[in-house]
Symmetry: C4
Subunit: 241 residues, 4 copies
């Protein structure tokens, strides 16, 4: 199986998995992944129900958006995904949904503060919110401008340390090294958004956690100091501490 | 299969689908559809559980409410549906539910503001709330007066651009060209109501989105500028961007 | 089948149904019913999981609490149920749960206002909250005192018009002519409590609905003016309008 | 079957049960239990999905943390569990989760007040919140310091009377005589947290219940005065009153 075939298989499984994670109403959500050697991006076709997806229906594009090989017309959000792949060199997959709790933060135009260790286990800081787009951006290359606003929101931030964002008035995007990890991050972002909203209802003025606690939890799961899971495990596991 | 038979089949399926979409507690909800050539309306019979519905149990009425053919006694909300068919010439089907989030807005007598793109993808503006009915209306032809109040709320609005409303102190109505699209709009209205309620909890003073963003999203999915889905698709799809 | 056997069968089915209606966490809830001719009350035995209930495990008591026939030890809430049967002569069955939304109102010591027609379809006025019990009542015949406080809350109210209550700091009780209708009222009370809580979040100062609207909806479903359902139906149906 | 084998079997079942109780997102949660005679603690291995757990994968440790026998590397939360077993001599099992409602209280750094009888049936007072950890504690033996902060929060409190806590900015821990009762307490703590949060939204200034009511309910289910369930039942049952 070639690397691209593996990625197509991962993208198919990740898109099909979105409903099972409770991340989509109707079928509002899409997953893409990139094969970095060839620079080819595989993404959900536009307007196809998850259950009808097949390997051959997936759209394959170059990093500048030219569709290659077969596949149906790509998601209309494709330009946003491509901007992220071009700007964030370590990102291997991107997920976009309208999941309820994260979308509430997006519509409120508020970043999701790091209020607890659940957040810190996956996101090494506040999850930023993008600036509103200008009228010209909205009426022009809107989806690409959405990607540009995300990249702008990460000025001075590390997208590998904070693998998600809420797009103002729209909804969340999340990413990761693989399609499965990007979906995991989207799922955690949704739960973290729910926890933060209810925390704010109980304590409107509660600020972010101690940076030392943020780092401790983030580094328990990542990098050279990671100390959980079994020795042969991946740095990021799906399991409990 | 005649057009009317097709519509009966659609109405049966749409009514039976309501519980699966999480739109009804007990069985509080009904769907109707109209065959415009003959002006015949098919609607759920009153007081029959969804699972007990059959094609022959569906009530068939003329636009002025005379029951024709067989079928059981129609839903007591029928006069409301008929007013909408008479006033909104493009509407092909109507759905009424007491779904939780939309009903909270109805009881609060607040329109649902267009706070994000999820709203804009289906509703081209705020979802209006009707005015309270007068004592005379309540004690007179109540259900017809409910319909009149909905039509009144759309003075200066396009019911095809905003395919739903919340009836003050009661609950939501939604509509569309077909029974399936009306149920889809009812389902999206419920999710949009949930998103808006939680957005308001996070940002009580947040106003509606930029009209340019509203139009961009609304027109991505409708009319000559629609640019998503596959070429042969319907202007409105059930799928993700 | 004797009347009492029928009631035992109804009580068994109603208790077993509580988890399916989402009304119980763990197994916090119980249903009883009375056979008015003999004055015998059938109630869930104490400390028995729903799935383990059998006809023979049900406790049968006289209206003054003497256990007759076989059956296990009755629910410790039995004295509350008996007070209601003695005071409310039309009540045929009683349900107690700790369902989430109604219990939040109970803990807040707030009556559930009639904020919309969903409420009015089943409850002909606000759902009252009981007064707090005195230390003497709490340390004495606590469960009977709980019943007395419910009866006291209905001074000047008709328990058939408002078939439920929230007990201060405790949770909801609901009732009806039969075990099935009492469970239906408990289920509607829970949904009405959820609707009211979210309505209050959107419009803290919103008062009850117009009494004319309250009556119109309450009487659509009950009594001589009821005009929905099919001719041969019961005055109270489980179905949609 | 030896006592230790029985405990391993209980711990396996309790960990596998967490997802079914809706207490875990992803697989954020772990259960341990102690065999007091030998002082051996059995705990979930780190980074293993619930469905992949086996008896042999469970980690077995001495009370001072030395791993004995086989098993995989223990949960990184193990030092917290061990501190609780050393400090609370009656505790037989400990559960940690990130369940949504209890975690919101933890992130808000607010104790969960005893606002109603549902709380009082299982927790004989407010559920305390721990103090924030110091930078030195966070950067040092963090998990053990978390346990110390829990023990500190119980200064002057009885951990058998209040079998749970919310750890500031982190989430809930609960315990009990057995793995099954600890999971039951974790599940009730989550429901109590949900009830309390919504009660606070309805009545921000509502204080705890009357101590007499708290004691009455707590003692209905425990100790010499317990008067529910069937004669031969355990003092704590899983069933309704």
């Amino acid at each position: 199986m070639t690397r691209l075939d593996q990625i197509k298989s991962d993208v198919l499984a990740a898109n099909r998995g979105l409903p099972h994670h409770g991340l989509v109403t109707m079928t509002w959500g899409n997953v893409s992944a990139i094969e970095r050697e060839s620079g080819l991006v595989v993404i959900k076709p536009s307007g196809v129900a998850y259950d009808d997806l097949t390997i051959d229906s997936l759209a394959v594009l170059s990093l500048n958006g030219e569709q290659v090989g077969g596949g149906l017309q790509p998601s209309s959000d494709t330009p946003t995904h491509l901007v992220l792949y071009r700007a964030f060199s370590e990102v291997g997959a991107v997920v976009h949904t309208h999941s309820r709790w994260a979308t509430a933060w997006a519509q409120a135009e508020r970043p999701i503060p790091a209020l607890g260790t659940t957040h810190a286990d996956y996101f090494g800081g506040d999850v930023p919110v993008t600036r509103p787009l200008t009228k010209a951006e909205i009426e022009g290359a809107y989806e690409a401008a959405t990607g540009d606003a995300i990249v702008e929101a990460f000025t001075g931030r590390d997208p590998d340390r904070v693998p998600g964002v809420v797009v103002a008035r729209h909804g969340p995007f999340a990413w990761g090294p693989t399609a499965a990890s990007a979906v995991e991050n989207a799922r955690v972002l949704e739960e973290v958004a729910a926890l933060a909203l209810h925390t704010v209802l109980l304590a409107p003025d509660r600020g972010p956690i101690d940076p030392a606690l943020l780092d401790r939890h983030f580094r328990r799961k990542r990098g050279p100091d990671a100390y959980y899971g079994q020795p042969e495990e991946q740095p990021v596991t799906h399991s409990s501490r």
